[in-house]
């Protein structure tokens, strides 16, 4: 099993993701340059956070057209595991691999802090080791995390159990006060209809060692490993 972390110019969470997978989770991982035309040989792809291509035009809008993204799209269509974190989530919506879009935060502030998210489902390869309702203490760091989608899309996400994480208060309630950015329904992460593509604004790779304040993010990478491992 091998993870690949895509390296985009301007994205800077790639090394944190690499470290989390190699040193904390203890699995093979390699960087993939954004100009690579293929992702053959990888079992899971990480699209990291940052400001790919300066986030000009719209966050993730230019990254979507990099050569590696066609390969990632094909990989996803074949059922390969893809996790997009923060800017990676924005790329996935821009590429049409996930529905909806991410607008500037309500209030226009860049927000960088720890908060709580609630796992809404364990029926994904990314949350298989979490119980529905379980809370993760995890940081966000974004200016454009305000998830929006049409009413029909939102209904489908709910009906098909595709909402994976919501922003909640420490008691696990998805209150307006616990919503940092104005996201519809406090949505912090969603999965594709095929359940193999996850986009989330919070950073699991920044919550991977006790010294950072939380290890909760490791659970997501470990779920991926469990899903990829032969039983």
């Amino acid at each position: 099993m091998k993870f690949g972390v895509v390296v985009f110019p301007g994205a800077y969470c790639d090394h944190d993701c690499f470290y989390a997978i190699e040193s904390v989770v203890g699995r093979p991982v390699e960087f993939i340059w954004h100009r690579e035309p293929t992702v053959d040989g990888f079992d899971a792809i990480v699209l990291p956070g940052g400001f790919s291509y300066g986030d000009y035009l719209r966050p993730g809008a230019i990254a979507r057209f990099s050569p590696v993204m066609s390969a990632v799209g094909d990989f996803a269509k074949r059922g390969g595991l893809v996790i997009g974190i923060c800017n990676g989530f924005q790329m996935l919506t821009e590429a049409g691999l996930l529905p909806g879009a991410l607008l500037p935060n309500v209030g226009m502030k860049y927000i960088c802090r720890f908060l709580h998210i609630r796992a809404e489902t364990s029926a994904t390869p990314f949350t298989s080791s979490l119980r529905p309702g379980e809370l993760l203490h995890i940081p966000i760091g974004h200016g454009d995390g305000n998830y929006v989608a049409g009413e029909d899309v939102l209904k489908e996400l709910e009906d098909r159990d595709q909402v994976v994480f919501r922003y909640v208060d420490p008691d696990g309630q998805a209150t307006p006060e616990a919503n940092p950015n104005g996201s519809t329904g406090n949505i912090a992460g969603i999965v594709s209809r095929g359940r193999n593509v996850l986009g989330m604004m919070p950073h699991p790779e920044r919550a991977d060692e006790a010294v950072l304040g939380s290890r909760d993010g490791v659970r997501i990478f470990e779920s991926m490993v469990a899903s990829l491992s032969p039983v």
């Binding site: 035009l57 719209r58 809008a61 057209f65 919506t93 821009e94 529905p99 909806g100 879009a101 607008l103 500037p104 935060n105 309500v106 209030g107 226009m108 305000n146 929006v148 989608a149 049409g150 104005g182």
Partner: protein, 80 residues
């Protein structure tokens, strides 16, 4: 030959930038402003040797596929 592409958020989409600008205007004392919506504006210069039909097709495609995110934005093209 130039095309101006004006990109606007769809009417149903909340505009945090416009809201923030509106709030600032109110605090500065501007009155009577009901709403501000922020959009984007692009000037595209195109090879004169292309025919008008082809030019329109090129601009329509780049506006649709790159300059806008169809989930949240729409666009109009003005030729000059």
């Amino acid at each position: 030959m130039n095309a101006k592409v004006i990109v606007t958020l769809k009417p149903t989409v909340l505009d945090p930038q416009g809201l923030t600008i509106h709030r600032s205007l109110e605090s500065m004392g501007f009155s009577g402003i009901d709403q501000i919506r922020q959009g984007k504006y692009f000037e595209v210069s195109i090879d004169e040797s292309l025919g008008q039909t082809e030019r329109e097709a090129v601009v329509d495609r780049l506006a649709r596929e790159v300059l806008t995110n169809p989930v949240i934005e729409s666009f109009q093209v003005v030729w000059s």
